[in-house]
Symmetry: C2
């Protein structure tokens, strides 16, 4: 199925201008055009934009998102090269997961210690947030 930019934007949950912006920035590929000049997208574009959205919510910059997506196809580099870049990204990601888990644990502690009655002054303070992390 081939879609116009407006449809893709709606499906991915972003604005039309954002899609064009991503194209300019090289985060998504330049799509083929109709005779009229209209961009023509496939479903892959929607997935890609959805991924960009999620990755940004996880604290990756557009540049980093591009690097992640560039781990897919790049005829000019060797597989070993890609592998090492992928491993570096894996490190980043595991780091993030670890930090999120520490925050999760701290919040769980807060929720558990605070049984839902009484003023907040009686609740234990969430110092756990301040600790841990390389």
């Amino acid at each position: 199925m081939r879609w116009t930019i407006g449809k893709v934007a709606r499906l991915a949950g972003v604005g039309v201008e954002t899609v064009r912006f991503y194209e300019r920035e090289g985060v998504i590929e330049k799509p083929p055009r109709r005779l009229s000049g209209y961009r023509e997208y496939s479903s892959a574009a929607v997935s890609r934009i959805r991924f960009i959205k999620k990755a940004k919510q996880l604290g990756f910059s557009l540049k980093e998102v591009k690097e992640l997506l560039d781990l897919r196809v790049d005829p000019s580099t060797t597989c070993g090269e890609v592998r090492s870049r992928a491993n570096a990204k894996l490190e980043d990601i595991r780091q993030k997961i670890g930090e999120l888990k520490r925050i999760e644990a701290a919040l769980e502690k807060l929720v558990a210690a605070c049984k839902g009655k009484g003023p907040i002054g009686e609740c234990p303070i969430l110092d756990a947030l301040d600790n841990g992390g390389r």
Copy 2:
């Protein structure tokens, strides 16, 4: 121990201007002042700023960071109230962890499938990134 803004900034790995900016935005508390007007911080400030830094790298906006930190002490709300806000944040965080784990799994698959030899063209493509996640 009491520190000046410059020391705190260095210890937390940010600029002096950033610390003042956080104060203006209400993300960190206004510290007491010396007679000279100099701000005087304790070690808690350093922890707090480090936390802000990490949380931002995890995709939280300053406003969200403030909300997380405000789950500590707030004499005007009940414990139950705090508990429900904490639970909402827990949801966010678990969501993020889930998405990071999906990316992690996809990268692991890429690394595993690609044994380090041959051109990238022979490597499986990382479509896993496009799937999963509501």
